[in-house]
Assembly symmetry: C2
Homo-oligomer: 215 residues x 2
């Protein structure tokens, strides 16, 4: 069954799942919305409201069962259903993801990687072979791929996104910092803008510095 969940709640779900997994590893069995709120830095009423969106799991004055909650969230997020992915661009960032990111924990499997550097083509990273970027179109036609992970230079980002979308890729995980200007049809784009995160941190540090000077 699928729940009807707002985009904002969906944005928060991965974070809830992350905390449920963490608490489960700490062998915590139950938690109240108040305690959970304190750990996550949100309000207890937001947590209750969010959890109600997909069926509750809590009893008044008793708390949430962490194992059940974790199972249910993993189910809603669909992590038991494996999606296939390819990595386009195997510079440091592409290699970092293939080597260290725990795709299987999130229901993804990287089945190929591509680069246009002759020195990289044919190498194997964590069991994934790097193929010639010129073969992307053919590969996508012959293999069902759900997600293209773009970790290539900005100058080639739009073309790679278009190529992926035109060849049936349903989602793009975009690390290039480019907002695509091509028509990608129904392909869903999830942008990772690391700079937004760093600027937010910088804002807080510069602010606190100014505050000190103002004293």
């Amino acid at each position: 069954m699928r729940y009807k969940i707002s985009a904002n709640v969906i944005r928060r779900l991965p974070r809830y799942l992350r905390w449920m997994r963490f608490l489960e590893r700490q062998q915590v069995e139950k938690i109240s919305s108040g305690e959970l709120a304190a750990r996550l830095g949100v309000t207890a009423s937001q947590i209750r409201q969010d959890f109600n969106c997909f069926g509750g799991f809590g009893q008044q004055g008793y708390g949430y069962n962490i194992h059940e909650l974790r199972e249910e969230m993993a189910e809603i997020l669909g992590v038991h259903e494996t999606l296939t992915a390819v990595v386009i661009g195997t510079g440091n960032l592409g290699r970092a993801l293939i080597s260290n990111f725990r795709f299987s924990e999130y229901g993804f499997r990287v089945i190929a990687a591509f680069d246009n550097q002759p020195s990289l083509i044919g190498t194997v990273i964590n069991g994934v072979t790097v193929r010639d970027a010129g073969e992307i179109g053919d590969f996508l036609k012959n293999n069902p791929v759900d997600v293209a992970i773009l970790t290539l230079p900005q100058s080639s980002a739009n073309a790679a996104a278009k190529l992926a979308a035109d060849n049936g890729v349903r989602g793009i995980w975009n690390f290039t910092g480019i907002d695509f200007d091509s028509d990608l049809g129904d392909t869903v784009v999830e942008d990772v803008h690391l700079s937004d995160s760093l600027l937010t941190l910088g804002y807080h540090l510069r602010g606190s510095q100014n505050t000190k000077e103002d004293l």
Copy 2:
């Protein structure tokens, strides 16, 4: 001067700045809140409300001056004021950041990197020397460092965060996926949870798949 801006608006500022820079590169001079809203996928009223928080810049029926807006946002975010950073952990991800991330565009300068692998110590990445991780404490005592960028394995993440905070580092840009459980005092932590982003993408793809099956 500092404006009093809510945390939610601050979260959106880097994105506005990114778009202003993009539009400026495209040589767009003015944009209405409606056009900007369409590009950013938010409502025009949200944009007007956000921009009003720090002084307006728009004239009714005339639109926003992109150059002014970009300058003002850069000013609020403080990108002209350089903060120093060190990278702790120079595996693929640390190297990717030092090599490719445009720190200077966001007002940051990486002044050192650290690792505990003898084969990496002494190497130079994009002008930054990799030092022995055993020297982190001394380095921080002798050099004012604003931000520690943590790109090391999870098993060492808490200890590194504590060491940085205890030695005057004011902010941590955390790529380890760990939520720190140590007391870091006033040190501000900005977490990068790539898995949250991938899970959100997965949710949308799995949802649309199910919808198709339901038809």
